[in-house]
């Protein structure tokens, strides 16, 4: 055998270890395929099988225990080149800890070939059992034998969607299966059953591989050789910059603030609090103010409170937190519950609250209005901010109207009517 892909040095495994036969089988298969060694990328896992990469003349990459398939997936997706042969060496140990990566790669049909070196135990760490150890199989740490059956990786990879799946025993003909697997342009998995002479054979004297397979009900056979299209990487052509003229606000100094103020608006999810707060803040910026906005809502965004903290300032804002708002606007019961503690703590400031709500304990000056009744609940937040603007005159109402009418809201409500209603103060 001319060692085109394997260097002519001794393989690093114990005498009689199936891992050697697999390495030689891959070498022979690559010879059959006659590709450049630089068209081959061997990705090795951690385990005895993984220390073989130094013997290959191909590109090699040696990563973590159990993660080789995911690493290979990154390479495969990135290259998307059927001429590059990505071959993963992984043990039953790696396949146990990294099972999800195998199923995921099969499911996505990433173009690669995974050789599972299944010697039914963790060779490198001293022969402990894996989830591939068959019922009754003994290992140095499992003297009574496994009390449950092992994974059937071929069934699992098949149902996940692999293109090519086959289980074989270690022998000199393996290369034929490897060639089939490597030439399949999609996800291929070959499970090679082996016995580890150092731990498996010693713990189970006289046991034959074929008998183990038969008893475990894991047939030696070709499961699949189909031609499903491999994964295709979507690449966006010239994606648009996230900063563009559409976002530019042309501010005109037109406000009455001489020092920073903070506003808390709290209402209910689904009642437009965040949109209203965002448009309001935008209008403030358009009026020449500096502004920040933060939002708070429960993880279930569609229900419960929804609240926004806004800071407006004539000068640059550094610290964006605020312990006590100068203005609190509350438009619903959820919003009230959320802000009770803050309102109680407040020493001064103004509370603008929907007329339907109970007045909470607070030292803030109270201003009531029917935000929910005069317009629909859905726009209670917008209405309340329009009202706040009307009463505070921080910046001109017309700028807020302008910003709203340029937004998606314009199509949903009659803005004029909403802003008009506000003029009637109560």
């Amino acid at each position: 055998m001319s060692n085109k892909y394997l260097l002519e040095e001794k393989l690093p495994f114990c005498k009689g270890c199936g891992h050697s036969l697999i390495a030689m089988g891959i070498d022979k298969s690559l010879q059959e395929l006659n590709c450049s060694p630089f068209d081959v990328i061997i990705v090795t896992d951690i385990g005895c099988h993984g220390i073989v990469d130094k013997c290959f003349t191909t590109h090699t990459i040696h990563g973590l225990h159990g993660r080789s398939v995911a690493l290979a997936a990154g390479i495969s997706m990135s290259l998307e080149n059927p001429n590059k042969k990505i071959i993963v060496f992984i043990g039953d140990g790696g396949a146990t800890i990294g099972m999800q990566h195998i199923l995921d790669a099969a499911h996505n049909n990433f173009n690669m070939t995974v050789i599972v070196h299944n010697n039914m135990l963790y060779g490198m760490t001293g022969g402990q059992q894996s989830e591939f150890t068959p019922l009754g199989f003994k290992t140095p740490t499992l003297k009574e034998g496994a009390d449950h059956s092992g994974y059937d990786i071929c069934e699992m990879a098949s149902s996940a969607g692999a293109n090519y799946v086959s289980r074989i025993l270690t022998n000199m003909e393996m290369y034929k299966t490897f060639t089939e697997a490597i030439t399949n342009n999609g996800f291929s998995l070959v499970e090679v059953l082996e016995l580890c002479p150092s731990y498996g054979v010693k713990s189970n004297p006289g046991m034959k591989l074929i008998n183990i397979a038969n008893e475990a009900g894991i047939p030696i056979k070709l499961y699949y050789n189909k031609m499903r299209e491999p994964f295709k990487l979507a690449v966006k052509n010239a994606p648009k910059p996230l900063i563009n003229e559409k976002l530019f606000i042309q501010p005109k100094r037109n406000h009455k603030l001489t020092k920073p103020i903070s506003i808390l608006i709290s209402g209910s999810a689904g009642e437009g609090v965040q949109t209203a707060a965002e448009l309001f803040t935008q209008a403030a910026i358009k009026s020449g103010l500096h502004a920040t906005k933060k939002s708070s809502y429960p993880v279930t965004v569609g229900i419960g409170f929804s609240s926004a903290e806004i800071i407006l300032s004539p000068k640059n804002i550094l610290f964006t937190g605020s312990s006590c708002p100068d203005f609190a606007i509350v438009t619903s019961n959820d919003g009230l519950d959320y802000s009770l503690a803050i309102l109680k703590k407040a020493e001064s400031g103004q509370l603008i609250i929907d007329s339907s709500l109970a007045i909470p304990e607070t030292k803030m000056k109270i201003l009531k209005n029917g935000f929910r009744s005069k317009f629909t609940n859905k726009f209670a937040a917008l209405f309340s901010l329009a009202f706040f603007l009307e009463s505070s005159e921080i910046f001109p109402k017309k700028v807020f109207v302008e910003v709203c009418s340029e937004s998606k809201l314009a199509a949903k409500i009659n803005l004029e009517e909403l802003f008009e209603l506000n003029s009637v103060k109560n």
Binding site: F38, L64, P239, I243, T292, K293
Partner: protein, 374 residues
């Protein structure tokens, strides 16, 4: 106030993603987690390649695969996801493959509170590489930082062949503010250099700056070996040969040797001030405000805002020498960066302003300063 045409109202997540993309990062791989989700969604629009990974270990492995073929991958996560990534970040570090990991801090321990910010992951970053090697860790405070440091992170990752961390928190990534785009400097796309000689390529042979030249694993001319176990210059696994240990130590030494190229900070020394205030990230904004207020009442205090947290910048100790008292303000329970800098046994002239579960206010910093500067 200067009124300008190019004001936008945005969160900083937009600036980070745009800056990374302009600097040449081309793949974003993510697994959703609050408060990093805005980064994820901007990236889904902006990055030429965007992939949703099934978990954070896969995220890092895919990124490493992409990086080995010469792309520049980015991800964004928070502690729960970051914890899962750590072994794989070590792998990419050992393999010397560039990538950017944005860690958006939230309140821990464990899953903690997803929607509350924090600066609680500093200690873990200091020790994230097994062996104690430094990994470049930037920390952003305001929008200009987000813009400039993100691009710098790409440059650092590529030039030093290393994963780079951008540390931030919920507050920086989710709060919306007015940003003047005329203040955002033009970003040049990173130019990558590859090994070009006809000689044998030795993948971990360092140049004079201690960084080895790079070749993608799919090149057709030279064999490439990439290894995450202890290895020699050829990328071949070795137990503890002199050459292999030298190689592992080099990973740290290359960071120190090139530290000046990515050591970012803002230092404002107040003449005759005996007190130095140190801060970083979100708390640095409160610190700036505190310094301004103190100045208004005639107290002049020096301020050092650290923007490259690791490897620890030497400038910190140069600034410390000139002051009698040091205050470190950071939003965590125990003063993590303070302890890293000065040890667990803080002396009476070294103190912290710390909070857990909420932002530190300028007033809290002022009060601490006034203890020294009466």
């Amino acid at each position: 106030m200067e009124i300008d045409d190019q004001i936008i109202f945005t969160d900083n997540s937009r600036l980070v993603i745009e800056s990374l993309a302009q600097a040449g990062a081309d793949v974003f791989i993510g697994y959703p987690i609050t408060p990093a989700n805005l980064l994820y969604s901007y990236a889904s629009e902006r990055f030429p390649i965007f992939l949703a990974a099934p978990d954070e270990i896969t995220t890092l492995q895919w990124m490493t695969g992409f990086s080995s073929t010469s792309r520049i991958p980015v991800t964004a996560t928070s502690f729960p996801g970051f914890a899962l990534m750590i072994e794989s970040i070590n792998m990419a570090y050992m393999m010397e493959l560039p990538m950017i990991i944005i860690l958006v801090q939230r309140l821990g321990p464990s899953t903690g509170t997803a929607t509350i910010g924090s600066q609680g992951d500093i200690s873990i970053l200091n020790g994230i590489i097994s062996g104690g090697m430094a990994i470049p860790t930037f920390c952003v405070g305001d929008s200009i930082d987000c813009w400039e440091i993100s691009a710098k992170a790409v440059e650092t990752a590529v030039n030093l062949r290393t994963p780079v961390i951008i540390l931030t928190s919920k507050e920086e990534m989710m709060t919306m503010a007015d940003v003047d785009c005329t203040k955002l400097k033009k970003i040049e796309q990173i130019k990558r250099n590859y090994f070009e000689s006809d000689d044998t390529y030795v993948p971990y042979k360092p140049e004079s700056n201690l960084v080895p030249q790079f070749l993608p694993i799919n090149n057709n001319k030279h064999q490439v070996r990439i290894t995450s176990s202890t290895h020699n210059t050829k990328g071949i696994i070795q137990n503890s040969t002199h050459e292999a240990l030298f190689n592992s130590k080099r990973l740290h030494n290359k960071m120190i040797k090139n530290q000046n190229a990515f050591c970012l900070f803002d230092y404002n020394e107040a003449k005759k001030s005996e007190t130095l205030l140190i801060s970083y990230g979100i708390t640095s904004l409160a610190a700036k405000e505190a310094i301004e207020s103190l100045r208004e009442i005639g107290k002049h205090v020096s301020l050092l805002i650290v923007k490259t947290l690791f490897p620890i910048p030497k400038i910190i100790f140069e600034c410390v020498i000139n002051h009698k008292n040091v205050i470190v303000a950071e939003e965590n329970l125990t003063g993590q960066y303070r302890q890293i800098l000065f040890g667990a046994n803080s002396s009476k002239n070294i103190s912290g302003v710390n909070e857990f579960g909420r932002m530190i206010t300028p007033n809290e910093i002022i009060n601490e300063v006034l203890k020294y500067e009466q």
